[in-house]
């Protein structure tokens, strides 16, 4: 009965349901990132953050969190001190 009423009031069509589900499933599938890539992401995050604050590089954690209808890249890092001005990217290589 409830189902019939739901349908009557325009419950989502199955095609739409399938599309929404696939958006999440494919996102999850594609987020099967290799440890090397995760390490590379971690280093890049460190580099960017270092321009704005002093951080403890050893404490940074990067992981992929997959929920029922979302996927997120979660990063945690301990901040020691925030700079008053943006630091220019280091030019050590030159």
């Amino acid at each position: 009965m409830l189902d019939t009423i739901k349908r009557f009031f325009g419950d989502k069509k199955s095609g739409e349901v399938a599309k929404k589900r696939m958006q999440i499933v494919l996102l999850h599938d594609r987020l099967s990132i290799s440890p090397e890539m995760l390490e590379s992401i971690k280093n890049d995050i460190l580099q960017v953050l270092s321009r704005y604050m002093e951080i403890d590089g050893r404490t940074i954690k990067v992981s992929i969190e997959k929920g029922e209808n979302y996927a997120a890249l979660v990063s945690n890092v301990q901040v020691k001190r925030v700079y008053r001005h943006v630091q220019q990217p280091s030019t050590e290589s030159s």
Binding site: K13, S14, G15, E16, A18, K19, R21, M22, Q23, V25, L26, D29, R30
Partner: protein, 266 residues
């Protein structure tokens, strides 16, 4: 100028890879091109029955690769089109009988003599897949509008990109226009936005396909069939022609046939 090797793949089984190879091969040959279809599904050969050539097999793909016959000896000419050939898969061997390097070498050789080499890829993503993909410059990924097929297609696209395949195109098979219309099937637009690769054609769902495979005559020979039309248009697009892809809600057959149908059904 050497020809092009195109692999037809999908990940999931039963979505219509073999039917696609048979019909595209036939459609390209009908356009006057020389085509050889290679059944790379070793151990589970099927392209021969779909083409109606099962009684003519003497040698197969593994025989060529292991040097038991010359390449031409294993090529079976189509019953209707004399520029269309089939190299059947071995039925009694394992996928490991072939190495990707050997497939690549064979495709390169065939490209010297043919405009198109169409490779029918086995389902799955293991050795058989890597063999089928090894010699190809282009890939066609076939999917149906179902979640399982789309998920596997996405996985296969990822693997093809990892193999540095640059030219990957999508065929959506068995689209049921009525179901899309009433919202119970993902539309062409939905699928394209999910998989994010260029679309080369949409094949409507049709009982005619089973009938034609029963007989072993590819459906493209049938002039009036909407499926045949769809395959002919894909063949034209593969050859660089600008043929628009009809929208999901476009009625097939034009106003006259709609009118006729209306009369017959009343």
């Amino acid at each position: 100028m050497p020809g092009t090797t195109i692999v037809v793949t999908s990940g999931k089984g039963g979505v219509g890879k073999t039917t696609t190879v048979a019909n595209l091969g036939t459609a390209l040959a009908m356009r006057g091109r020389s085509v050889v279809m290679v059944d790379a599904d070793i151990g589970l050969r099927n392209l021969d029955v779909v083409m109606g050539l099962e009684n003519r097999i003497v040698y197969n793909l593994v025989d060529i690769i292991e040097g038991r016959c010359r390449t031409e000896q294993a090529m079976i000419r189509d019953r209707k089109l004399n520029s269309l050939f089939l190299i059947p898969a071995a039925q009694t061997r394992e996928k490991d009988a072939v190495h990707p390097d050997q497939m690549k070498e064979l495709c390169e050789k065939l490209q010297q003599d043919f405009d198109y080499v169409l490779v029918d890829c086995p389902a799955g993503i293991e050795r058989g897949f890597r063999n089928a993909v090894a010699g190809a410059q282009k890939a066609i990924v076939v999917t149906t509008p179902e979640v399982s097929a789309i998920r596997d297609a996405d996985r296969v696209i990822g693997l093809l990109e990892a193999e540095l395949m640059k030219d990957i195109q999508l065929i959506i098979n068995r689209l049921n226009h009525k179901m899309v219309k009433r919202g119970d099937m993902m539309s062409t637009e939905d699928i394209c936005s999910l998989l994010a690769i260029p679309l080369v054609g949409v094949i409507p769902e049709s009982e005619e396909v089973v009938v034609s495979t029963n007989r072993g005559i590819p459906l493209v020979h049938e002039k009036r069939s909407s499926v045949a039309g769809a395959f002919r248009r894909i063949a034209a697009r593969l050859e660089g022609e600008q043929v628009p892809i009809p929208a999901d809600n476009a009625e097939e057959g034009g106003i006259l046939s709609r009118f006729k149908r209306l009369i017959w059904s009343s």
